[in-house]
């Protein structure tokens, strides 16, 4: 309701402004064209997210200085701190980035965004910028109509830049024409009240336009037309810097706790920076004069001096906040806690993860591993072993022989609650993605869906195995007990190996170690078959018991194969080149058979 009222108010003000002043119309149209240009630019850069960006982010954000640099460079190139914030929140939610790295990127983005003021003040106002806009729009639109993803992306970037330039041109023209009718500086205020009032206006303007870049361009063009005083322009710039956090806060609403922490870090940084700028405004003005004189900016070139001011106070913000990054991260983690989620609720399938295909694929990967964790517990309990003992690293025989009582578990209900519900959420998440998947991503999703199905098969086979296990686990017949324990040992061995291979980044070549499990499973199965036949011959097993054990031997083989198959898909390196080499070296069934025959 409140939002609707605000929108109605804005519409009323705009209609009134358009009615009484053609110059106001030109300024408002300039802002609208500029904001449309920002949207187009963001759309263009989105075309380049998909593999490449993930690679760059991963390789350039492992230390705080690197992530800071990434924030500066990416925002300078894309000219949108909002887009960088949204990407960072999305990557953070999907677990592709750590909070400290995310904070570093946001700090850097704040400095990177100041290059916009330099570009507009130094270039946009000094040349006839609209002359550059036309060819950019023509080629931009031409490329947008092409089929190729990257060409389309370039088209959106070009058209975006064209609209930005056109918007700046109209704002500039509007303010210059406005000067002949009305002098806005008469509404200016000096001193501390002026500082606070204009900072407030800067915040409000940025919240409405959701772009500090647009606010800053508006300030610079108004300043160049002498429609606002230099002093008030500085206050507006401070306000714009604080107001820009709204984009990150809105973006974090659909993110998990990590995304919310990052948005909070952004707010803290910009508030502290704004506060420093307000408190030290006199010192800043002197510093700006000194720096401007040093770099050769004319004393009356207030637009460039505003750019210097914008850079200086953001730089001071970074210098002031960087030493406290760890403290900030620790406090945010303490204060913003994730909701305690039940094992049957998805942990990674957030709406913010669907902003980019890479983060969506990563979210599905993490959620599939969550399904694995749940399936691990169900299968372990299904063969009457406490999951914690498998993970603890005790000798497997000891665990199995000591666990000679059936663990009470309703496998069907556990499967419905902890596996099937999550799998349904994954399928829904994939189908609801607001973009079309690329062939490579579709392939990965297909395999992950397949991996989930393998876990389901393993659970269902365990359920069958459990039926007889409940009879034979404490059988007075030593041979029956021994055969079932052998099956349990095999399943526990695989579960433990998979648990250890789960952290692929620290367990290199996990894919190759699965070959040994395949060999073990085949050998065990044959050995058990031979033993069953032998016991049957010697009369140590009845034919009824032997048939049951033979069936369960088959189930054990199937459970093992499903679990190994799952690991073959999921426990691979994120580096596709490394995975390709490992797949080439992994043994094919014939080669495993050759080893068995030796």
């Amino acid at each position: 309701m409140f939002k609707k009222l605000i929108l109605a108010g804005i519409v009323a003000v705009l209609v009134w402004g358009l009615w009484i002043s053609p110059d106001f119309t030109e300024i408002a149209a300039g802002i609208a064209i500029f904001l449309f240009g920002m949207l187009s630019l963001e759309e263009g850069f989105r075309a380049f997210t998909g593999g490449l960006l993930e690679k760059i982010l991963k390789n350039t954000t492992d230390t705080l200085p690197k992530s800071l640099l990434f924030g500066i460079v990416s925002t300078t190139l894309m000219q949108s701190s909002s887009l960088v914030s949204v990407i960072t929140i999305s990557f953070l939610s999907a677990g592709l980035l750590g909070l400290a790295a995310g904070v570093g990127i946001i700090f850097g983005a704040n400095l990177g965004t100041t290059t916009g003021a330099w570009l507009v003040a130094g270039f946009g106002l000094k040349v006839k910028i609209s002359a550059y806009a036309m060819p950019m729009l023509i080629f931009g639109v031409l490329f947008i109509f092409q089929k190729g993803k990257y060409l389309k992306g370039i088209g959106y970037v070009l058209a975006g830049l064209g609209f930005l330039f056109l918007g700046i041109h109209h704002m500039k023209e509007g303010f210059e024409a406005f000067r002949d009718t009305i002098d806005l500086t008469q509404f200016g205020m000096t001193g501390f009240p002026g500082l606070m009032l204009f900072a407030g206006i800067g915040i409000a303007a940025t919240v409405i336009m959701q772009s500090s870049h647009a606010t800053l361009v508006l300030i610079i063009t108004a300043l160049s037309a002498n429609q606002i005083s230099y002093e008030n322009a500085l206050a507006l710039a401070i306000g714009a810097n604080v107001g820009t956090t709204i984009t990150a806060i809105i973006g974090s609403l659909s993110a998990n706790e990590q995304g919310k922490r990052l948005a909070a870090a952004h707010l803290v940084f910009n508030m502290v920076t704004g506060l420093l700028a307000v408190v030290l405004i006199k010192q800043f003005v002197t510093a700006v004069d000194n720096v401007s004189e040093w770099v050769g900016i004319a004393a009356d070139d207030y637009t460039l001096k505003l750019a210097v001011f914008h850079t200086l106070f953001n730089l001071l913000g970074i210098v002031a906040m960087l030493p406290f990054t760890k403290l900030l991260v620790a406090n945010l983690e303490r204060l913003i806690k994730g909701k305690a989620k039940g094992v049957s609720e998805p942990l990674y399938l957030f709406k913010s993860a669907t902003d980019f295909p890479d983060t969506a694929v990563e979210a599905v990967r993490q959620e599939t591993l969550h399904v694995f964790d749940n399936a691990f517990d169900i299968i372990a309990k299904g063969v009457s072993i406490a999951p914690s003992r498998i993970k603890a690293g005790e000798a497997i025989e000891q665990i199995v022989y000591e666990s000679n009582r059936l663990i009470d578990i309703d496998m069907e209900s556990e499967y419905e609650k902890k596996v099937k519900s999550l799998f349904s959420e994954i399928v829904l998440f994939i189908t609801q993605a607001p973009f079309s998947w690329e062939a490579n991503q579709s392939g990965r999703l297909h395999w992950m869906r397949d991996a989930n199905q393998k876990l389901i098969e393993a659970i269902k086979d365990t359920k069958h195995l459990r039926t007889n296990l409940s009879k034979f686990i404490s059988s007075p017949n030593a041979q029956e007990r021994q055969l079932y324990n052998s099956m349990r040992i095999q399943i526990v061995t695989i579960l433990r190996e998979l648990h250890e291979a789960r952290d692929v980044e620290t367990n290199g070549s996990a894919l190759l170690s699965l070959d040994a499990l395949k060999l073990l499973v085949l050998d065990n199965e044959s050995e058990r078959q031979a033993e069953i036949t032998n016991y049957l011959k010697k009369g140590k097993l009845t034919s009824v018991a032997a048939t049951s054990i033979l069936n369960d031997n088959g189930y054990t083989l199937d459970i093992s194969k499903s679990l190994i198959g799952f690991a073959e898909t999921m426990f691979v390196s994120r580096d596709q080149d490394v995975t390709a080499i490992e797949r080439e070296i992994a043994l094919i069934p014939d080669e495993i058979e050759e080893i068995r025959e030796k």
Partner: protein, 75 residues
């Protein structure tokens, strides 16, 4: 014949060459990693008392030998 020489030159200096160099480097790194794994398994074999673990380690060694042979063939 001329085309085949041109192809060879292209292959030598083009992306195919770079790919081969990268692959060779990856294979070398993998070989090192597997050899290290083999020595760790040998040590584990001596210390473990669990029959099932011994059995698995034995399979791991057999498999590693074959995988290392495959790497040597490809390098």
């Amino acid at each position: 014949m001329r085309k085949s020489i041109a192809d060879k030159v292209k292959d030598l200096f083009g992306s195919g060459f770079k790919k081969r160099v990268k692959k060779a480097e990856s294979l070398k790194a993998l070989q090192k990693e597997l050899e290290h794994k083999r020595s760790v398994i040998h040590k584990k074999m001596k210390s473990t008392k669990s029959a099932s673990e011994k059995k698995l380690l034995d399979k791991k060694l057999k498999v590693l030998e074959e995988q290392l042979k495959k790497i040597v063939k490809r390098r």
